[in-house]
């Protein structure tokens, strides 16, 4: 295998990591508050509000029901508006974030719902405000679950970033499609697949290790 291919693959790894981490971070900036809002306005939340909850719930379900590949194409005008072009790894972050944020909101909501209602009641009995309950009780008590959710989301977005390769998104997926699919270079495709598997394993293992380390619920 020549130097050019190696260079290209290294660049692909970089782009893949860039797209994955970029979309996870921006996704959480949007999705985390959204998830908290879902929890707070939900039926058993701190301040139930059926109108807000149902509206958010509806929008989230719509976005989540669109397959990513179709979302990617549907969003091309929007992506072009935001980053100025619709191809390349930076452009791919846009649909990845749009896809990830509602997913993250759901993951966050379900993590927060795991927190024992009794602990929240105890905090209220101490005079905690809703904001304090969110920052000092919910996010702390649910952190293991939140970190697991973060890991799962990262793995999902790694896969989606590869999928964006079909429309020129850059990264390992792009290489796999161009060389493996269009040019029948199975060896290059295999390498990218193996690399994706390795990256996925590393993310999953680190995520599990960290969340276990911060979990004091078990002995």
């Amino acid at each position: 295998m020549n130097e050019k291919v190696v260079e290209m693959i290294i660049q692909g790894i970089g782009e893949t990591l860039y797209m994955t981490m970029g979309s996870v971070i921006i996704g959480y900036i949007l999705g985390l508050p959204l998830g908290i809002l879902l929890y707070v306005t939900g039926k058993k939340g701190l301040k139930p509000n059926p109108i807000v909850y149902r509206t958010l719930d509806f929008i989230i379900n719509i976005i989540r029901s669109i397959p990513f590949l179709i979302l990617l194409i549907l969003l091309i005008p929007f992506t072009r508006f935001v980053v100025g072009q619709s191809y390349g790894s930076t452009a791919t972050i846009v649909p990845l974030v749009i896809c990830a944020a509602p997913y993250i909101a759901r993951v966050v909501e379900s993590s927060l719902m795991e927190v024992d209602a009794g602990v929240i009641e105890a905090a209220r009995s101490m005079g905690a405000s809703n904001f304090q309950i969110i920052t000092k009780v919910l996010l702390v008590e649910a952190r293991t679950s939140l970190m697991m959710g973060f890991t799962i989301t990262t793995g999902l977005l790694l896969g989606y970033s590869a999928m964006s390769g079909t429309v020129g998104g850059g990264g390992l997926g792009d290489i796999a499609v161009r060389y493996g699919y269009y040019r029948w270079q199975t060896d290059i495709m295999l390498i990218t697949v193996i690399l994706l598997i390795i990256i996925f394993q590393i993310i999953q293992n680190i995520g599990t290790k960290i969340s276990n380390k911060f979990d004091h619920r078990k002995r």
Partner: protein, 337 residues
């Protein structure tokens, strides 16, 4: 002055379009420095009542005064401040699982905005009070039930509250641990002068630590008074059931056949005299002891017995007279009990 005053309190819940009255026109005064028991079967409304005291449950009607302040008139912020002056402990402890013991105890102070160093100092004092100094860095999952409740008590006391609410605080604990937790609560009441409100379904908890007790049945306050008075003269079925332990006595009572049955309650010194034997010797008639129990109420031995009397009516009366002469409290037990 009463530190807690509950006036005409009614709480209704809407469940699937039906209105359920959880508490019906409750009036209750709890004096400063008291250990006040609120007892009732599960579903009687006692948990709702205790949550009304710190307004975790807002009453549908009526009002709650703490230290003369009507909680219903307070803003959300003032209410939170009042709440932080009322400690509360729970059946399942409700500790923060991801925080260690000392951080759990610091938590109410953190909410108040107390400096970390000051909070830690206070938490260490409290750890000493609940005798868990060596568990400072342990996490709740590493503690036994009794230890968790001790941490919860320390946490509830962190803000120097005037009132401590205990919601079935010993119901998840074994009898020995229960005794040690009650001892601690009693100790806190005596040394710190904190008013304690204990919610329980166990009469033994009330008789061990409480001075006064209120009995809640079906959302109504049916009896209230000194623990010994209610134990000696239970007026209502709810009180009788709680004292006798419905499950133990209800069915057997019917099976324990005798023409006439009476309940006698022994007070102080009579608990140490062979009263029954004396009566049998004097009247020359057999007495059937159907059930007997002795309880320690505030250091006094108080016993209760259900006796089956012989068929002869004259002898029945003679026995009752003798028992009354021995300064016992005698009441009839009917067959429906």
């Amino acid at each position: 002055m009463s530190v807690i005053e509950i006036k005409n309190l009614t709480k209704k819940f809407e469940i699937d379009g039906n209105t359920v009255v959880a508490l019906n026109n409750i009036n209750l005064n709890i004096e400063k420095g008291d250990i006040f028991g609120i007892i009732g079967m599960s579903g009687a409304g006692k948990s709702t009542l205790v949550r009304s005291i710190n307004y975790l449950e807002k009453p549908s009607e009526g009002s709650v005064y703490v230290d003369g302040v009507n909680l219903g008139k307070l803003s959300e912020k003032e209410l939170r401040k009042t709440r932080s002056n009322i400690g509360m402990i729970f059946q399942n402890f409700h500790l923060l699982e991801q925080k260690n013991v000392i951080d759990n105890i610091c938590f109410p102070l953190e909410i108040r905005g107390v400096k970390r160093a000051d909070a830690k100092r206070r938490a260490k004092e409290l750890l000493e009070l609940v005798k868990l100094e060596e568990k400072e860095k342990a996490f709740p999952s590493q503690l036994s039930g009794g230890q968790k409740q001790r941490v919860a008590i320390a946490r509830a006391l962190a803000t120097n509250p005037e009132i401590l609410l205990c919601d079935e605080a010993t119901s998840a604990l074994d009898p020995q641990t229960t005794a040690s937790i009650l001892e601690l609560i009693k100790n806190i009441n005596e040394t710190l002068g904190i008013t304690v409100v204990i919610i329980t379904h166990q009469m033994s908890v009330v008789t061990t630590v409480c001075k006064r007790v209120a009995i809640i049945d079906g959302g109504n306050l049916v009896e209230e008074g000194l623990v010994e008075t209610i134990f000696e003269h239970p007026r209502t079925d709810a009180a009788k059931e709680l004292i006798s332990g419905k499950k133990i006595s209800y069915t057997p009572m019917k099976e324990l056949i005798a023409d006439r049955r009476i309940r006698i309650v022994f007070k102080e010194n009579t608990a140490y005299e062979p009263v029954i034997a004396n009566v049998i010797l004097k009247v020359q008639a057999p007495i059937n002891i159907l059930k007997a129990d002795t309880k320690d109420i505030g250091g006094r031995a108080v016993g209760e017995m259900i006796l089956g009397l012989p068929d002869d009516v004259e002898k029945q009366e003679a026995i009752i007279t003798e028992l009354k002469n021995a300064r016992l409290i005698v009441t009839e037990v009917d067959y429906n009990e």
